[in-house]
């Protein structure tokens, strides 16, 4: 009786949010493509990642898990403590095994990250202050801290502070080439201002930041990031641009990304071309690419196959690198994800790190 009551509340919550076409969204890009939604549907950040909103939490309790279990209370978690304050968090803890050629293999337990999110919304739907704090491992580190104003029609938003930059697919894996090589990932927030535009099928952001990846600004140059995405029910297409002007030289990236749902499989793709004047005496040109298939095996289980490509210098032959990943992701119950995977690196034979094997099992709790 009690469980039925809670489930009805959650379903009602989801239905209410969907029906009112308010915030709808996802945790990872493949989920967004699978549902035909924008990142802002599930996340506080319009470009995804970080704290989930009311719909995101409802989605995590209904659509994501293989089954739902009931707690002692009758209330469903929405993240909202009241009309003005929201909380959230992520904990990822791993058991890993790493095999680097010509080196002893290693295995260890570690905490990948514990992050806590707090949003204070003094004017609902219009003004919010948001903090994303990395609490572990090690001491506390601020990742995001910004104030955001949203226009009356919810079409425009303006934020200032420290935040993750808008560019490409914001996938969870920071070690993916498109995240690591571009330098735009969950370890490199930047300080500045951002304006965002949200329409029925469009989402776009323009940010001007220090270009110091969270460090202190050391010159007068600034970084400009632009991301636009056109979202349809089963496919989407987007483009990104980033230019960082520094005393050490300029760095410019441009890329295209896309997603499409074909039956039970969601395909994601991104390609970026990077021109970097900061890596040597001459401009270095690089390519990175990602192609990922996400197969919804049954409800609550996803199989992810990823192939990546990295050309560190287009003027140098035979230096290209690949990475392949196979990851099984299981949501046994709400707010809990189990992941088991392997990542195979394939690079030049002279470099052992470029040919390592990495296996992991992860427990991911979130709320």
């Amino acid at each position: 009786m009690k469980s039925g009551t809670v489930l009805r509340k959650v379903c009602a919550l989801v239905a209410l949010v969907v029906a009112s076409a308010l915030h709808i969204a996802h945790a990872e890009p493949y989920l967004a493509v699978r549902e035909g939604l924008k990142c802002a549907s599930c996340h506080f950040n319009p470009t995804g990642g970080g704290m989930r909103n009311v719909f995101g939490n409802a989605y995590a309790q209904t659509a994501l898990p293989a089954r739902r279990i009931e707690g002692a209370g009758t209330e469903a978690w929405t993240g909202m403590l009241n009309s003005f304050v929201a909380l959230g968090g992520n904990l990822r803890t791993n058991a890993t095994y790493t095999d680097v050629p010509h080196n002893p293999s290693t295995n260890e337990f570690d905490i990948e990250e514990m992050r806590a999110y707090l949003a204070v919304i003094p004017i609902p739907d219009r003004l919010a202050v948001y903090v994303d704090q990395r609490l572990a491992p090690g001491g506390s580190t601020n990742l995001e801290a910004f104030a955001r104003y949203t226009s009356k029609g919810q079409q425009w938003n303006f934020q200032a502070g420290q935040f993750f930059l808008p560019y490409g697919l914001r996938i969870q894996d920071d070690t993916a080439f498109i995240r690591q090589v571009t330098g735009i990932n969950f370890t490199t927030p930047d300080r500045g201002v951002q304006v965002g535009y949200e329409a029925t099928s469009w989402t776009a952001q323009l940010a001007v930041t220090n270009g110091a990846a969270g460090g202190d600004e050391t010159d007068e140059g600034k970084q400009v990031s632009l991301r636009g995405e056109y979202v349809q029910n089963v496919w989407r297409f987007g483009a990104g641009f980033n230019h960082n002007h520094t005393d050490a030289g300029n760095r410019q990236m441009q890329g295209l990304f896309a997603g499409v749902r074909i039956g039970p499989v969601v395909w994601l793709g991104e390609a970026d071309y990077i021109m970097d004047r900061t890596l040597g005496p001459t401009e270095r040109k690089q390519w990175v690419g990602l192609l990922e298939a996400n197969w919804l095996m049954v409800k609550g289980q996803n199989l992810k196959l990823t192939a990546e490509y990295f050309d560190p210098d287009t003027d140098v032959d035979e230096d290209e690198q690949n990475r392949f990943s196979l990851v099984w992701e299981h949501f046994p119950i709400q707010f809990l994800q189990l992941r088991v995977g392997a990542r195979i690196y394939d690079g030049i034979p002279q470099n052992d790190q470029q040919n390592r094997r990495f296996y992991f099992a992860q427990v991911h709790g979130f709320f």
């Binding site: 290693t106 990948e112 030289g249 395909w267 900061t278 040597g280 192609l291 290209e320 002279q350 470099n351």
Partner: protein, 285 residues
């Protein structure tokens, strides 16, 4: 639908066939002869070639380097040795002679108070590798690159960089010294010619209102190759105020390197011009 799946699978296979075979390249993926790594030794060039470049620059390179820490060749030394950590500003990333007090070692060993162990999300460096870096620091953390970085260095001008405080920074912690680095070795004998002056604004944040006053300073050379200067107020820490540090880059006597090339202080791409650093101190104690 079947056609689309086939197309995607073909694309995946194409991607998979693209890894380089490494012919004509060194272990860092650079053409042979461009740099030489060799076995890891406790000297900076060897550590750069065997650790920083192949491992750390996967993230810590270029304009997008996390926390501004670039470990690519030509920038790494100036941003490591005697440079304060961003995460724990009271610690130097590398304190010559003291590996235990060097934040770099703490980050590599996973004992730092803030953030994760480096390399992030990768296996830790072998203990033997960390031991070599420790030995390099114990030995004084000398720069064994050629002056001005390596042969690949882009530095053609003599440039200064404000490490701490940064340019236009508002500092909420006590400031006991101002750390400036050069991209080359400076002729530090010139410092006897009163090239460096520090002025306080007098409380109004302006430096042309007539109420400024000079703050007596001493300049200490913390390291050479490239030169790291610590400019220390004789009465420290600095009182809460706005400050302007000026290092002369124009006649009659200009700061210059060992080849007598004046600094490009004003950053206009040509030798000459004063280096001016302005910052504000909010807290004196």
């Amino acid at each position: 639908m079947r056609k689309a799946k086939l197309c995607a699978l073909c694309t995946t296979c194409l991607l998979a066939a693209c890894a380089g075979d490494g012919r004509g390249l060194d272990e860092n993926g650079r053409p042979l002869g461009e740099s030489s790594g060799g076995a890891l030794q406790p000297d900076f060039k060897s550590i750069q070639d065997n650790v920083f470049t192949p491992v750390c620059t996967a993230c810590h390179a270029g304009a997008a380097a996390p926390l501004g820490l670039r470990l690519d060749e030509g920038a790494s030394y100036a941003l490591l040795v005697n440079a304060p950590s961003v995460e724990v500003p009271s610690m130097l990333r590398v304190q010559p002679g003291n590996p235990d007090a060097s934040y770099l070692i703490q980050k590599l060993e996973g004992t730092a108070a803030v953030g994760g162990r480096m390399p992030l999300n990768l296996p830790p460096l072998p203990q033997e590798t960390i031991a070599v870096i420790r030995q390099w620091i114990t030995d004084g953390a000398a720069n064994t690159m050629a002056a001005g970085g390596s042969a690949n260095s882009r530095f053609e001008l003599v440039q200064l960089t404000a490490i701490s405080p940064a340019r236009n920074e508002t500092v909420s912690a006590p400031v006991r010294d101002v750390v400036i680095t050069s991209n080359v070795e400076l002729d530090t004998s010139l410092m006897q010619s009163n090239l460096i002056e520090l002025r306080a604004s007098g409380g109004d944040g302006s430096f042309d209102s007539g109420n400024e006053h000079d703050v007596p300073v001493d300049a200490v050379v913390r390291s050479d190759l490239p030169t790291v200067l610590a400019i220390t107020p004789r009465v420290a820490p600095l009182a809460a105020d706005s400050y302007e540090l000026r290092i002369r880059g124009t006649d009659p006597v200009a700061m210059a390197d060992l080849q007598a090339r004046p600094i490009d202080g004003d950053g206009d791409g040509a030798p000459g011009g004063d280096f001016v650093l302005r910052f504000t101190v909010e807290m004196a104690q």
